[in-house]
Subunit: 329 residues, 2 copies
Amino acid sequence: MTRLVLAAGTTETAAIEGLSAAGTDGDLLVHTPSADAEILEYGKPVRAPVTPVSPAGCPTPAVVTRAVRERLDLPLTVVDAGLAKPTAAGTVTVGATPGRDIREEEPVPTAYGVWEAARQFGRALDEDLLLAETVPGGTTTALGVLTALGETDATGVSSSLAANPLDLKREVVAAGLDASDLDAGSCAGQPRRAIRRMGDPTAAVLGGLTVGALETDTPVTLAGGTQLLAVAALARHADADGRLSLATTSFIDADPNVDLSAAADAFELDVTVTDPGFDESHVAFERYLAGEAKEGVGMGGALAVADAAGVPMADVRDGVISTYERLLG
Amino acid sequence: MTRLVLAAGTTETAAIEGLSAAGTDGDLLVHTPSADAEILEYGKPVRAPVTPVSPAGCPTPAVVTRAVRERLDLPLTVVDAGLAKPTAAGTVTVGATPGRDIREEEPVPTAYGVWEAARQFGRALDEDLLLAETVPGGTTTALGVLTALGETDATGVSSSLAANPLDLKREVVAAGLDASDLDAGSCAGQPRRAIRRMGDPTAAVLGGLTVGALETDTPVTLAGGTQLLAVAALARHADADGRLSLATTSFIDADPNVDLSAAADAFELDVTVTDPGFDESHVAFERYLAGEAKEGVGMGGALAVADAAGVPMADVRDGVISTYERLLG
């Protein structure tokens, strides 16, 4: 049995204008991870006041992962990785608090404790794990972590926006390094320090979970794009040398800002890319084709699980449409 | 779709010697609700250090509910109703803290806020709800609540022990009334006050959930024995007049200390009793036949769901045995 473990958290880094598409505006963005967790668990927001959509109307990838969960048995655990708002999805506590802006010296003061609690949790789990995230602003904090580890050459960095604001991200990361008195690569071999100084709390949860699971020979698939590549980097910099897989979407594979095969080599990853076959036939698909969202909330991993289980992508697409209509139609 | 909602909490009332069979001794008892939630979610304890068994070796009814969950689709939400120890099961937060000894003036200071948060949560849920509890010492706090409401004539009170320590419970409740400056029936029509002065936090969670769900015409089945009868009483004393069901086990029905039909009349309940058909063929069943446990962790409700779905009780019994062997064999 495969279990989906979603690290749901927030970072004040997301409040920087122009970084994230994970909500129509900053006031709603802070509800996105709580809403995503509820969509996975209940098929709709329950306590959260909103269904996350990008400013251009792209529905959260939680809609895709939920559609898969309605078609096969995929148990879910949500870990509170620094939620700022209540959620009706049950959450596991590992001591995370909302992340601060990475332009501060210590955006994740809880990184060491969270990593260790998540590691113990990862050691205790024995189902195959599919690890995922929802954290607005997460590709910027991932770039922060990858930069601190000295691993940006291997990965590149994606975006939930069609036009990746890479210059802005680099500027934010440079300011973060400055505030933390670090250079690129200063945190090589020090993954928890990289998170504490330059990351967000989902990285601490997922890094710790990955290392704990690998220590006990539990199969781990990282389900996502840039942020999960950063988790792979963190695990390797923690000297975890077990077998590690990454499952992502064709949208990440097609992103010229990401070099999946270089990352696979650098971090010894088995990579699975799944194409959901979206086309222009429905508004739920259009923004994905335009390059928005691309990944998140376990989308690529859920698609891979569906594919491996023989669920036709046409069925998944039907589910995406019906979930979209229920939530946003 | 039916959703099982488990209120998992603790009360210092359970530390009174001789009251509860929900753990081999007091040190382990405090882990029981966390372990029960994990057994429902993962099929085994994960963070909790123990599988709950009574001093005489009766396995927690969570084993039965889990066996049902492995045979049909029964989504689970665990609400933190005052857990004292970490759990790997995700939990929803409504502001509950562990209950104090009911012999104190205010054993549940958070009762009003928890009730209201749970009511809002109940209003937001729209699946059929099966409400359950795990709280050691819960039949004593249920007797406290029923006494404060003036409803003990209608119900009686059961026990997880084969020899119900009724005299001790009455003594504890009398001391509680005394400390709270209440008489039997003083809290009639004041359900939240009854909990704050004489109950435990699971009653606040389940009472609020029930009232919120009934306000929005969501079908509610109370899954349990005495403690869920107390929840029915609380809902009726809160003037919730929607249709309410109770699903319990044949062990509760056979308990001479409980008058199910009087309770059904008093609180207008549709009662379903399900007999799992336990016999002497396996150690997992023996202590139930001897009168231990009887109910808890949604056992009667899960059996009713299995029965309604056409799952043969022989299959459920096989599942109980295999779960027992995995955990305690």
